[in-house]
């Protein structure tokens, strides 16, 4: 299985780039990737700089941390203030703020709760634990019966089936002290919303590799057919991504959209149907808010009736309150591919990875963080 070298091979990259240049039909074409790992890979390997003139690679809402609404962050901060409560989270969520009122934070002084992060709460003494796998939480909960455990449940289809397993398992063993703050999202409904938006035109989708492992490449057919936009699944090495871009360009030139799969070593037509079944057994699709983008029908997941006793919001009687975005932050436009990060007035001025203003700079996979780390020169 150690054949990754082939997918980083410089010669292969050269061949593909050359082919891309000679096949490029000209004019402006915008290809959007909807996966934070692609955002990072494209920036890291400097792929933007290799594209023909007019071919723009733009980032969409592919970073689960970035699209998690401020209301969820605020709820998780509130939950962390309840006595005897342990917050369990993936590491990426630690530094995201709820709503940021002023734009500057004076460290060492009192911070209003809406500006807090889980990292600040931990420093203040709250029990916040980072885990690698959500099932590990069940073991903690079994050992520490006197505490309530709340998992901040975010992620796309790659992550959600594992969370569903944990919920099924918690029910099976009858755990009474684990709860889930659910903010999982589905990628295809978000793509629909982008295709319908009046202010962006997308000519092709570079579809997320590991989401597709679960949902299968056929899941994008509805997008390709309905909007005549080619959808091609890509892996994460430079050769994978270039093969997918080549395929998209070829489809655009031939005027036959369709779906393609340039990540055949792990992605199949139907994906992991068992994982999908497990996910649907626990969750049902609902209208949900995406940070900076707004509400999208059928794009979120709620616990089904037989699992609602695991719902942290219900259990602790917390209401989600929509929050305006930090002043001056253009994450919404960045997440929809309307602007690129340097076009935000705060980029690298007041907003840097050390002092992030919006979630796209906080998350290591956020577009703003990617542009900051690998340079605007990539454009």
């Amino acid at each position: 299985m150690n054949n990754l070298a082939q997918f980083r091979n410089k010669n292969h990259v050269k061949i593909l780039v050359k082919k891309l240049h000679s096949n490029y039909p000209g004019g402006t074409l915008k290809l959007m990737e909807v996966c934070g790992t692609h955002t990072m890979a494209i920036a890291r390997y400097g792929l933007r700089g290799l594209m023909p003139d007019g071919l723009k690679l733009i980032s969409g809402p592919g970073c689960p941390v970035c699209v998690t609404p401020a209301s969820i962050i605020n709820a998780s901060i509130k939950l962390s203030e309840l006595p005897g409560t342990v917050i369990i989270t993936f590491g990426d969520m630690m530094r995201v703020q709820g709503t940021h009122v002023t734009g500057t934070r004076v460290t060492g002084t009192h911070v209003p709760w809406s500006e807090k992060t889980l990292e600040i709460r931990k420093a203040e003494g709250a029990d916040v634990r980072i885990i690698y796998s959500v099932l590990d939480m069940l073991e903690m909960a079994r050992e520490e019966k006197n505490k309530n455990f709340v998992f901040i449940s975010i992620g796309f289809e790659t992550t959600t089936p594992g969370i569903a397993i944990s919920i099924i398992e918690a029910k099976k063993i009858g755990l009474k002290n684990v709860f889930f703050l659910t903010a999982n999202r589905l990628i295809v409904p978000a793509m629909h919303a982008l295709c319908r938006a009046a202010d962006i035109q997308i000519h092709g989708f570079l579809c997320p590799g590991h989401v597709s492992v679960i949902i299968g490449y056929d899941a994008y057919r509805e997008i390709a057919d309905q909007y005549s936009i080619p959808c091609v699944v890509a892996g994460f090495e430079p050769v994978d991504i270039l093969l997918a871009i080549d395929d998209i360009i070829e489809r655009i030139s031939k005027k036959s959209a369709g779906v393609g799969n340039a990540y055949g070593r792990v992605v199949t037509e139907r994906g992991n149907t068992q994982a999908m079944d497990i996910m649907h057994q626990v969750f049902k699709p609902v209208r949900a808010e995406w940070r900076g983008i707004g509400s999208i029908p059928n794009s979120g997941l709620d616990l089904r009736d037989e699992y609602t006793h695991f719902d942290a919001l219900k259990k602790f009687n917390i209401k989600l309150v929509s929050q305006p975005e930090p002043k001056g932050c253009k994450c919404g436009d960045v997440l929809r591919g309307v602007i690129i990060p340097p076009e935000c007035g705060l980029f690298s001025k007041t907003c840097t990875p050390e002092t992030p203003v919006g979630p796209c700079m906080v998350s290591t996979e956020g577009s703003c963080a990617a542009y900051y780390k690998y340079g605007v020169g990539a454009e």
Binding site: I15, G155, I165, N272, Q274
Partner: protein
């Protein structure tokens, strides 16, 4: 966040397995790939194996790719 890495299943006990992820051995949950066997390669994400990598297919893809690059290289040489 959707990063997933390939590893080889060393041993299986019930619904958990020990997976060799590039030299690091890690406990991994196998509920999403019930058909998995020791020795298989799987893709691992957040502690769960999310797909069994069909070695034959992976090999076939690689061979196709190899062929593709070889023919492209010859073409490039011929057109020189």
């Amino acid at each position: 966040m959707c990063l997933a890495i390939p590893g080889r299943v060393i041993s299986i006990e019930g619904m958990t397995g020990i997976i060799d992820l590039g030299g690091v051995k890690r406990k991994t949950y196998l509920q999403l790939v019930p058909e998995v066997k020791a020795g298989d390669y799987v893709l691992v994400h957040a502690g769960f194996a999310i797909q069994v990598i069909e070695e034959e297919e992976a090999k076939a893809t690689l061979e196709l790719l190899d062929e593709y690059f070889r023919s492209e290289e010859t073409r490039a040489e011929e057109s020189r």
